[in-house]
Chain length 390, copies 2
């Protein structure tokens, strides 16, 4: 185990009706002038936004709204939000939605008190020191941003999708998690969210750090739970218990607990970010394509942890590491397929991926060598993208 | 899953040399006048206290010391500490040690700003609203108090050992966790700590709340990891990796993560508190005696979750719930025995336990009915104490 620091001060309110505490939680955290950031259609149609607005009015909170945030959120709305908050003298944010709304809110929270351009933080030209407080009403369990200090934004010019990680500055003050709000998600979005949260665990699980039995077991346990509950939620979308387990798993997958004491990997995420930046695919669906390809590459070179995954998560019973690893990958792909996820570029709707472009952008954004489990250069990542093409 | 609230703001610094941050962490938390609370001999002899004092001096922190805290800490030192802090105008606490030092510090932290007698909180006559900030340098992984909002103190008069639970008021501001400090623990203390942390998980695991797959899997994973690492640490006390895994598991066992979304039980703890209050035995050793007896009682009445424990934690392969449960209990007792723990009153050194007295005190302190998994009355708890006598 490596030395580590860990602090997760986010206050979680979990269960039926959690969103009704939006006003009281904002007030309890001294957040009385707010920019409310959200996606669009479904939260409005379902009446969720109306309920939240009512709670904000009841609490006497002054607020403005920034709606219409799209998946794979970009810098444009972030800049508009920063401008709105400065002009309106607003001092806090409330995101209502999934990762896109939350990450847009986080980027605005960083940008408002910063004199330069907010993209400086994403381009590595500045280090986050402070941010306005952010609260969350979660509607899509997937990104895990409600409990993380991370934030992913795409720069429209050049389609650079960059993930910014902070220890604490960007962790939300509170997150209201009502599993009922996730019952109306379309099946493809439920499935993509499941692939996303599984990837958040696996990026931490596939580590070069030895002797992480505690976090290994936590990760394996979460993965087993997600796989079991996902199957239930896909067949019965209104199964509250399945939705509740998946929602909480999505938060724990990314609040850092599975990464304590070890180096993490994050190659598959970086590789997927290029795919979704270029082809506009759903992040989770892209991960279902890239991650098994990455694992297959590793199974041929350093199968140990991939084999452990197969044995402990999918109960593979094979004494040989490489075959146990490959069998585990096969079962993972079968699981993804069973919930309607693609496991190849073609199934993702990308018939002829421009692998050279993806590799070039990946290393332009991330450097010549990437990854934790093994360090990878362009030849390696090209091989992984190619494996994902079949 | 039940609705829940969850917030763990404690900042963990984990790894070699973590105690060297005592001064900087106190300052970072605005804790510049401190009562340092500790046990005694070993922390002084090992040089730990000297290192911590030096760091406090370097940081310019004004501090006084309250040493000599004994296992199963009592109200006497708490009262002395309250008096010292009021007289000295001290505003924060630093506990150096295990659960006894930490819980004494927490009780003092509650008592100083309270006008009445601090025992009011333990007697249920007052509800904790505020406390002075507490920091921790952990030396014994067992109680989990470094990450919990709980505190256990024994009233010397009448030997009432009472556990006080708070959501956040008593959670330490920071905890410095250096696994190296645990290498010199005597084997019996290492083993008792392991039984204690396993019990903290199992009290949350054995729940009447259905459909808690995520927390079930987390709990089972932690238990498996502890069992594996315990065997290593017992045979090689200076195995850093085993010590590190056990230390982190001890914190996660009790910071509440395994209890999210469900009712907990805590009968075994309550029953053990009476044993250690009356006979002065080590809490963890007492738990190794009581918990299997409690599980045996349950295996005959409501075996479902006990059987799941056997199958998932100890890989029992038996389709019948009652036999799977009993086989799991057998393997748990074999594990306890393998690391030198007692599994009966006699092995605990209590040849003829006064079971009537234990039952009477238990229900006097906890009420006529106790427990979560099944509700238990005096006839039931008498049967469990009797099962523990063999």
């Amino acid at each position: 185990m490596d030395n580590f620091r860990y602090c997760t001060p986010t206050r979680y309110v979990f269960g039926r009706g959690a969103e009704m505490e939006a006003g009281t939680q904002l007030l309890a955290n001294g957040m009385d002038s707010v920019l409310m950031v959200y996606g669009g259609g479904s939260a409005e149609r379902s009446g969720l936004l109306a309920r939240v607005r009512e709670k904000l009015h009841e609490a006497g909170i002054r607020f403005e709204e920034l709606g219409g945030i799209e998946p794979n959120p970009t810098d444009g709305p972030v800049r508009r939000g920063i401008e709105m908050m400065r002009r309106g003298g607003l001092h806090a944010l409330l995101a209502v939605g999934g990762g896109s709304a939350i990450d847009t809110a986080k980027a605005i929270a960083l940008g408002v008190p910063y004199e330069g351009d907010f993209w400086d933080f994403f381009a590595g030209r500045a280090t986050p020191q402070k941010a306005l407080p952010v609260g969350v009403v979660l509607t899509i369990p997937a990104a895990g941003s409600e409990g993380s200090g991370n934030c992913v934004i795409t720069l429209e010019e050049g389609l650079h999708k960059i993930s910014l990680r902070t220890d604490e500055v960007l962790r939300p003050r509170f997150a209201l998690l009502n599993p009922e709000l996730t019952m109306t998600l379309p099946p493809c979005q439920t499935a993509a969210g499941i692939a996303d949260m599984m990837a958040h665990i696996m990026e931490r699980y596939f580590t070069p750090t030895p002797d992480c039995e505690v976090t290994d077991r936590l990760a394996e346990g979460l993965l087993k739970a997600i796989i079991e509950e996902a199957t239930k939620a896909m067949s019965r979308p209104d199964d509250y218990e399945a939705r509740a387990n998946i929602m909480w798993a999505g938060t724990l997958a990314h609040n850092g607990i599975c990464g304590t004491g070890r180096r993490e990997d994050w190659t598959s995420h970086a590789m997927e970010h290029e795919i979704s930046a270029v082809y506009g695919v759903t992040h989770g669906a892209g991960l279902a394509v890239v991650f098994p390809a990455w694992m297959t590459f590793m199974a041929m070179r350093s199968p140990g942890k991939i084999a452990q995954f197969g044995r402990r998560v999918f109960d593979v019973n094979d004494p040989d590491d490489t075959s146990a690893a490959l069998e585990g990958i096969g079962r993972l792909k079968a699981f993804y397929t069973s919930i309607g996820l693609p496991v190849s570029f073609a199934a993702l709707g990308v018939e002829h991926p421009d692998i050279d472009l993806l590799v070039a952008k990946l290393h332009e954004n991330k450097g010549e060598e990437i990854g934790g489990y093994l360090r990878l250069r362009a030849d390696d990542t090209r091989e992984i993208y190619t494996l994902a093409d079949f």
